[in-house]
């Protein structure tokens, strides 16, 4: 069985003040069916940009896929024209966004917004699509779904809207679901409910989920594999267990050290010194070097993403820690 999503050497460029700069460099990964891959990093590290590139939603003239291959459910989408891409989006791949408050159209009923892609991709009649939308609303556990089909987004709470977003994204039973910070804007209790819902849908439907988050707690409880991004580079990737037990990249370590944990006094929290450099003054070589405690001469050249000798599925883009492990 082929992977739900396979990305190879994806490079995304943004035009800033008339100059094209690589904002995401050479990202490769495979997402199996039923698997959750977490994409982690600070804001501006390229997580969302990677997701938008996979979706083919880069704004024309501002962003472009400058290299790499994207294969969604066996169909190569990189290089497809917009009209062909539209057939894949919403069908084989769905996406939910961070802001449930603004991601739904305020002037259309939620029932119609869910039904719309079924009419578009599956050729369902309005009535059939409406019936299916009701089922989907029940599936995402919206109470009194039949009565709420004709409600408008403003009549829903944030958590309920995010459920609508999920129903909308999975309407055509996609193989891949990209969830971009799906719970960041929600209350903690609602967060857990939404993640729980995502997890059960994933098991039932064999969805491959690309979970974008900056919350390592969410990663630990919901993902099987994790990829850490910094400055547009994947700096570490591996199984969740191995990653949390022994993070290899200095940036991953810093991220974990900055995370509040119940088993540790908050006074031990150490914020990462310095700031993410802007695209224009990104250092040559390792992009983390300006903030890295382990920096050495070799960091001036771009380090390769190196598998660890003891765990070939665990990779780090750091010459120093890769050497340590071997």
């Amino acid at each position: 069985m082929s992977a739900a999503l396979s990305v190879e050497g994806l490079t995304t460029s943004l035009r800033i003040d008339g100059v094209w700069r690589d904002a995401v460099r050479d990202v490769s990964f495979e997402l199996a069916r039923g698997e959750t891959l977490a994409l982690v990093g600070e804001s501006g590290c390229g997580k969302s940009l990677t997701a938008m590139t996979v979706m083919g939603l880069l704004p024309a003239g501002v962003g472009r896929l400058s290299a790499g291959r994207i294969v969604i459910d066996g169909v190569e989408t990189s290089g497809l024209a917009e009209a062909q891409l539209e057939k894949v989006r919403g069908d084989a791949i769905g996406m939910i966004f961070q802001e449930p408050m603004t991601s739904l159209n305020p002037v259309l009923t939620v029932g119609f917004q869910i039904a719309e892609s079924l009419i578009q991709h599956r050729g369902l009649s309005r009535r059939q699509a409406r019936e299916r939308a009701r089922e989907l609303m029940e599936l995402v556990r919206i109470p009194a779904a039949a009565q709420r089909l004709d409600s408008y987004p403003h009549q829903f709470s944030g958590g309920m809207r995010q459920r609508v977003m999920i129903a909308l994204a999975i309407a055509c039973e996609p193989k891949v679901l990209i969830a971009d910070e799906p719970t960041t804007a929600l209350d903690v209790t609602v967060q857990a409910q939404v993640l729980d819902l995502l997890g059960s849908l994933q098991r039932d439907k064999g969805l491959g989920v690309l979970l974008i988050t900056h919350n390592l707690g969410v990663v630990a409880t919901n993902a099987q594999r994790v990829m850490v991004m910094y400055g547009g580079d994947v700096v570490e990737s591996g199984e969740v267990g191995a990653f949390f037990a022994n993070p290899r990249h200095p940036y991953s370590r810093a991220l974990l050290a900055a995370m509040p944990r119940v088993d540790r006094p908050t006074a031990d929290l150490s914020p990462i010194p310095g700031q993410v450099p802007t695209l224009a003054d990104m250092p040559e070589g390792c992009r983390f070097q300006s903030r890295c405690p382990l920096r050495e001469e070799a960091c001036a050249r771009r380090p390769p993403l190196t598998p660890l000798r003891d765990d070939p599925r665990h990779l780090t883009r750091c010459v120093v820690t890769a050497r340590e492990a071997s």
Binding site: M55, A83, E86, G90, E99, S103, N105, L108, Q113, H154
Partner: protein, 314 residues
């Protein structure tokens, strides 16, 4: 929806009272003695006293106000000082022409302005955007009488495509009536085209960058559907706002358009009343304008209920 309607109607009542009060005050701020102003310095004291009596000017102010309000609210606008016909009769005779002109201009504004605005937003800084900029700049810059005269010279006098004087044509001759409506409506519509192009363009630019448009694109909706169903449906809200706001401007400019094209209507009536110092006619006309404004506001609120689901239920 019905509750919303009722609430709007209730809210319109105080506005109407306030506008009517404004009309009363405006007509009463004439410096000096209105009777004297009307009749001129040749008038005999008897004539002045008689006119004051007829206008109710010998009464205390509060009584004048009460009489004015009760007359207006019972539909009695008095009689013209010049023709002695009831003001209402003269107004109703020409009102259809003004309404016809205003609605035709509004339609022209919507038919040309809205698509131009959408088109301009789609090709930001491209050809369409420049057309939209020039059209809206022209619409905002032309005083109605200037554009009217230019159209008259070009299309009626030079090319002879349209009649120079669009006098009253009975509805039994619809072709001729439309022909005489064309230029005035185009002239008045130019302003609406300008406003609607602007608001549609900026509204579309804003809507197309909203998160829900991204959601629609993520669902794989074709570009045409994304633009019209997801983007444009939301722009209807500011479009309704602008139409409501600038219908007043349109009504104001209809006065000039009617003068230039020598068309019957409230505008010509108001100018005639000014020249002859027909104060009851003037007062009656202002009351009519006040009613029109209140009705326009009411219709705008209703339109909101149709285009914005958030209005109905909250």
């Amino acid at each position: 929806m019905i509750a919303y309607l009722a609430k709007r109607l209730l809210l319109a009542a105080p506005t109407l009272l306030a506008v009517l009060t404004l009309v009363f005050v405006l007509v009463r701020i004439v410096p000096g003695d209105p009777a004297f102003v009307i009749l001129g310095d040749q008038a005999t004291p008897q004539a002045l006293a008689e006119l004051r009596g007829r206008l109710g000017l010998d009464q205390p102010l509060w009584r004048q106000y009460a009489a004015f309000m009760s007359d207006v609210l019972t539909g009695d606008f008095g009689r013209s000082l010049v023709t002695n016909r009831p003001v209402m009769t003269d107004v109703l005779a020409v009102l259809p022409y003004t309404i016809e002109l205003t609605i035709a201009s509004l339609i022209i504004g919507v038919v040309f302005g809205v698509p131009l605005g959408v088109w301009a937003a789609r090709s930001r800084d491209g050809f369409a955007d420049w057309v939209a900029r020039i059209v809206s700049l022209a619409g905002l810059s032309f005083p109605a009488f200037v554009s009217g005269i230019m159209m008259l010279i070009a299309f009626a006098i030079h090319f002879r495509w349209f009649p120079v004087i669009s006098k009253g044509v009975p509805l039994t001759d619809p072709v001729e009536r439309l022909r005489s409506l064309a230029l005035p409506a185009l002239n008045l519509g130019l302003i609406m085209v300008a406003y609607l192009t602007r608001v549609t363009r900026s509204g579309m630019l804003k809507a197309m960058s909203e998160d829900y448009v991204r959601t629609a694109r993520a669902k794989g909706m074709p570009t045409t559907i994304v633009i019209w169903r997801h983007g444009f449906r939301n722009v209807l809200i500011p479009i309704v706002t602008v139409i409501g706001l600038y219908l007043g401007v349109l009504i104001g400019n209809s006065v000039l358009t009617e003068i230039v094209f020598n068309r019957p209507g409230l505008g010509k009536l108001i100018i005639g009343a000014l020249e002859k110092r027909d104060y009851t006619m003037l007062q009656g006309l202002m009351v009519i304008y006040a009613f029109i404004i209140v009705v326009v506001n009411l219709l705008t609120d209703l339109a909101y209920g149709l285009v914005d689901p958030r209005v109905k239920t909250t």
